[in-house]
């Protein structure tokens, strides 16, 4: 099996990149948060930009930046995860169709509504004929993209892959999540989100892209493995993690820092708390969703964060869930789930 390294990385979220080091947090109290805007014009022609939805814009911007950093022009694979896809164009077409009672419609938003519009537009922009895949599996969308890329590079079939996770919000469809318990009903400062005792969370937009390569170069980290499960009973969580780590002859004590997906939803944060209080009690614990919000591909922020932590060998206090100091971490574990489903584990090693 060939090894898989993370080389280029790029992020768009509700926080500035520098928050990892300086802890200057953008504060929010609403439950639906837009991603911070980037200078898209700097790398995408204005005429192209006008036609792009936010998801496509963010996906392309992060992809181009990650490729640039990895010094790769045309990737051998383009693999994306997006649980909700091009929500804005979907909503636009749906509203027009319903309001006109199936009248005469413009096809523009329909043709951009498919989940693979992001990967397709990146291919179009790069004139890249390579393997192009889009996974849309709730909070395991990005994880399956990682898994696919690891198979491509691990098997020796490819030397690199562009891998990303993108989610945008839409006005009406995202707002529906207020009605089914997904979003918090009270205003809450994002800084205290993780202490919340109520149900629901806050949702935000984000996009992340990574270049995985078979050669270490100046890698941020080495990807050892990823595993996904649809359901996992709370009492089986520890044994799943033990089994996963044991494949690499590791125990929880070898993990230099663990990144948890706590999102302030009191109904489901017990999965994370169970780990915090047991096998990772003595491990530096890091959380991020109080800063960048929840979404189906937000674990891509966790992978970006882990990459940064390995590179910087430090992390701002605002991410820490406990007081244990991080000392030259060798391995990192990312655990995530959403509404108690679509659980994932990602294991990384300092490159």
């Amino acid at each position: 099996m060939n090894r898989v390294f993370i080389n280029g990385i790029a992020s768009i979220s509700a926080q500035e990149d520098a928050v990892v080091e300086n802890g200057n947090v953008a504060l929010y109290s609403e439950n639906n948060i837009a991603a911070l805007d980037k200078n898209y014009k700097s790398i995408i022609a204005p005429m192209m930009l006008r036609r792009m939805s936010k998801a496509v814009k963010m996906g392309l911007w992060t992809s181009l930046n990650a490729l640039k950093e990895a010094k790769i022009e045309i990737p051998q694979n383009i693999i994306f995860g997006t649980g909700k896809g091009c929500l804005q164009d979907t909503e636009k077409f749906l509203v027009q169709m319903l309001d006109s009672r199936e009248g005469l419609l413009s096809p523009t938003s329909f043709i951009q509504s498919t989940h693979n519009t992001i990967g397709g537009q990146i291919a179009l922009h790069l004139k890249c004929n390579a393997y192009n895949m889009t996974y849309s599996q709730n909070s395991n969308s990005f994880e399956t993209a990682i898994l696919d890329a690891m198979m491509k590079i691990g098997s020796g079939e490819s030397e690199n892959a562009l891998v990303g996770g993108v989610e945008e919000n839409a006005d009406i469809i995202t707002d529906f999540e207020n009605f089914d318990g997904q979003l918090k009903q009270e205003k809450i400062s994002n800084l205290v989100l993780l202490n919340s005792t109520t149900s629901g969370t806050i949702i935000a937009e984000s996009a992340h892209a990574f270049v995985f390569t078979s050669k270490p170069n100046k890698a941020y980290a080495e990807l050892l493995d990823v595993e996904i499960r649809l359901n996992c009973e709370l009492e089986n969580l520890n044994s799943w993690i033990f089994q996963f780590l044991d494949t690499y002859k590791l125990t929880s004590k070898d993990i230099g820092f663990v990144i948890m997906g706590n999102n302030g939803d009191a109904r489901y944060d017990n999965y994370y708390k169970a780990l915090q209080d047991s096998i990772f009690k003595e491990t530096p614990q890091i959380a991020y969703k109080h800063l960048v919000g929840e979404n189906n591909s937000i674990s891509s922020y966790a992978l970006w964060l882990a990459s940064q932590i390995f590179k910087l060998n430090k992390i701002s206090e605002v991410f820490k869930l406990n007081d244990i100091d991080m000392v030259n971490p060798k391995y990192a574990l990312i655990y995530n789930q959403y509404l108690g489903k679509n659980h994932s584990l990602i294991l990384l090693e300092n490159a």
Binding site: M97, S106, I111, H115, N116, A130
Partner: protein
Amino acid sequence: MKGIAVTGMGVISSIGHHLSENLEALSSSKSGISFPEILQTTHTHLPVGEIKFNNTELSEILNLPKTQAYTRAALLGTFAVKELLKNLGWEKFPEETGFISGTSVGGIDATEKHFKQYAANSENNRFIQAQHPGFTTEKIAEYFELNSVVTNISTACSSSANAILVGARMIQCGRLKRVIVGGTDCLTKFTLNGFNSLKILSSNPCKPFDDRRDGLNLGEAAAYLMLEADDLVQNKPIARISGFGNANDAFHQTASSQNGEGAFLAMEKALKIAGLEKSQIDYINAHGTGTLNNDLSESMAIQRFFGEDIPLFSSTKAYTGHTLGAAGALEAIFSILSISENKIFPNLNFAEAMQETGYSPVSIIRKANLRHVLSNSLGFGGNCTSLIFSKDE
């Protein structure tokens, strides 16, 4: 390569609720195209490949509680996987069976139905999450207590072809030993109006590869295959997946390039993995939707790839309509039926060869000993996938 063993199949489409009914219709040139009766649309003049069970009927067949949150794609998908289970002769799927499903729009049928009704305390709120493709896949997985790798691919009209490709790769590299692959998509107002706004729906039964073709018919289906690693295979495999390839046309969001570059590259990759010569492909189950653009572009790709000796080919879309995300898996099953029955199912409604190519598809049922069959699926976003199915020898 020897190829990944296909050990079971389950399917529901407008030409049949079971595998045997689908085979019967294919063999007797019986199309499933009708006018919409279940789908509530104002476009009642547009022919569709509709499955004539409503959601309540499907829900009752599957013994689901009244409070279920299964969208139509989830109902059809569950129905087809249940068929697969029955055809395998198993009580339930063994632990560690993976599930990879493809769907293009997932549960948008629920969103378009309840869009104006979602509000605090509405009883329909259980469908809010159901819009998203992964939810459809979860519902099917939970019905069968599948809890290993459960994931969903959404690459428009090549979704389930890609699910087959990824599942085969997972077996090949040892990530999984057993995986259900395929896909499901139902008729929705969203897609019917979408394709209508693109002006590529025909108001007649579609005529793939015909010179006077004037668009596609939408359809709905769910189709799933069981793939197993060789050390688990107990009975002789129905067929093997010997090659697979995905490439991007990188030309336009919806239209295919004139020379069909994406399809060309996908076929090339699939053949290379299979280790086959071009001349060994006995038949192509083409994507052949019946639109001006697709059929020309795909023909060009086939012509460029195969040169003088073009294999026999046909599109089965005139039977079922274009079932979008389910099409790849549906046609994978049709391709495998072709191999096991030694029959090429005809391209219905064909009369006159395209002027640009002069090629005629197989238009009446034809006996043939088929060892290797190529199946193409081409989607929005330039997504092109080719699969090769081979006789288990």
